[in-house]
Amino acid sequence: MFRISNSSRRSIGIQSSKLNFGLSQRFISFRLPNIQSLETVKSQQSDFEGLFSNNSVNELWFKRGQSLVDGLNQSLEHSNVNSSGTEVPNNLTDLISSTIQKPEYYGIYCYSSLLYNLQFFVENLRPSETTIHKVDQADPNALLANPVFEFVNQPQDEDLKRWIIDSFGSVIEFRTLLLNSAKGIKGDGITWLVAESNNSQSTINNNFQGGKASREPQYVNLKVINTYNTGFVDDSIRSGQVNRLRQQKSARLAALRSKQLERQEKENNEKDSTTTTTTTTESTTTSEEKTIISEIEEIDEKIDELTLGSTEDADLNTLYNDKKLLPLLAIDSSPRNYLLDYGVFGKQNYLDNVWECIDWDVVAKRTPTRTQAIIGSLYM
């Protein structure tokens, strides 16, 4: 499903060790992966040609990456994941998808998703000789500078290029959309190029009739999306938040109702049988009943069956439409990336340079096989 380049697969591997203290325990800790281009920058004390200075590579990858890894290992240690006996996933994507919906593992989720995003971003960069802007502090006039129309870097892979042109119209349109989306982010965030499957994850999971082939997602479209802060790109694991809340609420209501019914039946039985009940127990049951009834009423009030719901609800319901999204390319436009080299006014310059440094070979490797099903578009 998810392809990491060979070097990274080796490097982000796990250090698991079995300790023989009677109980078998597995400790999992992560290491910062080796990324060749960044290692050479470090060893040669050179700049990342066309994008970063040596100092900011050190800050952005080696220091920040290491602190994220440390944070992740610490939070894995502190939470009782390791000792609870459950298998801890040994790669970041599985770790993210297993913790994203559990508030108790919030720290683990944050660290792992930040680490995943960072690694994904730096992996699709390569030093570039063609630079549009000098790697230098931008002056305030950069805010008003004319948009750049000329660019050199383009996807070389014919299939990928064809797919981009079919999805966005042309490479320049795709570039404009991608960089504009990145520029619009005010705080921390990442802009992604993703491949979108035609079927939602739930449809794929529920489709038992077809063979194994039909359960694999088929990728039809390319899209550009943003994630903010520790956001993770896959819709299929973060969707349905509102629906989950609704379900929880209705489940609670049903439980309360059945409890009330039970109580009533019990009372009826007690009245039928000629057992003597003291007045004190009666009063306690009625007070308990009252609280249950008031709670039911409260929930009933909140659930208004007549109104359709606000546009906000509709937005949240359709925002993550449960589709499988496969990330191909990430552009980190968080301020920390451009403040060091380009200054506060240099975001556009930074983004123009990032485009020139995109390693399209890596992107092409990540690209899944394209499904050009005409019928597939009916399911969109």
């Binding site: 948009p147 520029k183 619009g184 705080g187």
Partner: protein, 300 residues
């Protein structure tokens, strides 16, 4: 446009109306203007500039006319048709033509929806654009709009050499002249790119702030309709009253019209009565009053 000659005769006409009884009260300015009557005649008097076209003085004609016969009248002075203005073109206000206007015309015909964007109409001199540097389209003091495209086009046209050197590295050997269309297209495409950026920026901002917990209970459209409705509700009441008054006065006029003859000074009357702004002025004050009233009622 017709030359305006009536403005300087306002005093005469007003005194006439007072005498006849069209106006019951003296206007406040009447005495002042009477004491200092307007000496400047604003009307443009035609001159016969072209000497060749001026008629020969009839008195000269008198001598030269050898074939004059007794009993035939001589023309000794100009009559009204001679005095009449012959060259209307002279008194006409000259048509001002600017390249900017043509560009604006083209741009707003191609992009009619640009008109729907709100625009600040307050300006001090009207030439603020002159102080701006049009080597780039975005300006700190001016929002991006059609005028930016116009000014940028002109800048590209005048500074074409620099632009060509920067952008057309391939054609260094030749020095192609950038045409107006090319300059306009260049400016236009820059404008499109900046507009796209603006739109994406607002969309991303909304998404981002939603992620951080912002809630938008109503859309912009809903908000606008709701705010507008407040005024419409108030206006509906006022309009009802006003209509009733209007109808009543119309009926009265109809009933009295048969008794009265048409007045002689009717043509001049329109100039004195301000027909456009009274309703609007009254309306805005009414709205303010009604708002205050409704607030009082609410508080009760």
């Amino acid at each position: 446009m017709k030359p305006q000659v009536r403005a300087s005769t306002v005093l005469e006409r007003t005194s006439h109306y007072l005498k006849v009884g069209v106006l019951k009260e003296k206007p406040a300015w009447f005495d002042v203007v009477g004491a200092h009557p307007p000496i400047l005649d604003l009307s443009k008097k035609p001159k016969k500039i072209d000497l060749k076209q001026t008629d020969i003085d009839p008195s000269l004609k008198l001598d030269n006319d050898k074939g004059s016969v007794e009993g035939k009248f001589f023309k000794t002075r100009m009559n009204s048709t001679d005095r009449k203005q012959q060259h209307n073109a002279i008194s006409r206000i000259p048509k001002l033509q600017f390249l900017e206007d043509e560009l604006r015309d083209v741009f707003y015909h191609q992009h009619p929806w640009e008109f729907s964007r709100p625009k600040n109409l307050i300006e001090n001199q009207g030439d603020e654009y002159k102080n701006l540097d049009w080597s780039h389209m975005l300006q700190f003091t001016k929002p991006l709009d059609g005028e930016s495209v116009v000014q940028r086009t002109l800048w590209i046209l005048t500074n074409q050499n620099n632009e060509i050197n920067i952008n057309n590295n391939n054609n260094n050997n030749e020095s192609p002249k950038i045409t107006l269309f090319e300059a306009y297209d260049k400016a236009r495409f820059e404008f499109y790119r900046l507009r796209m950026e603006e739109e994406m920026n607002s969309a991303v901002s909304r998404e981002e702030s939603t992620m951080y917990g912002a809630i938008y209970p109503s859309t912009n459209l809903e908000w606008g309709v709701k705010n507008e409705q407040e005024y419409i509700d108030l206006w509906a009441k006022i309009a009802e009253e006003k209509t009733r008054v209007l109808e009543a006065s119309r009926e009265r006029n109809n009933s009295t019209a048969s008794g009265k003859s048409t007045k002689g000074g009717e043509t001049g009357l329109e100039d004195l009565i301000d027909s456009s702004s009274i309703w609007e002025q009254n309306f805005s004050s009414d709205i303010a009053g009604a708002k205050a009233k409704s607030k009082l009622n609410d508080s009760k």
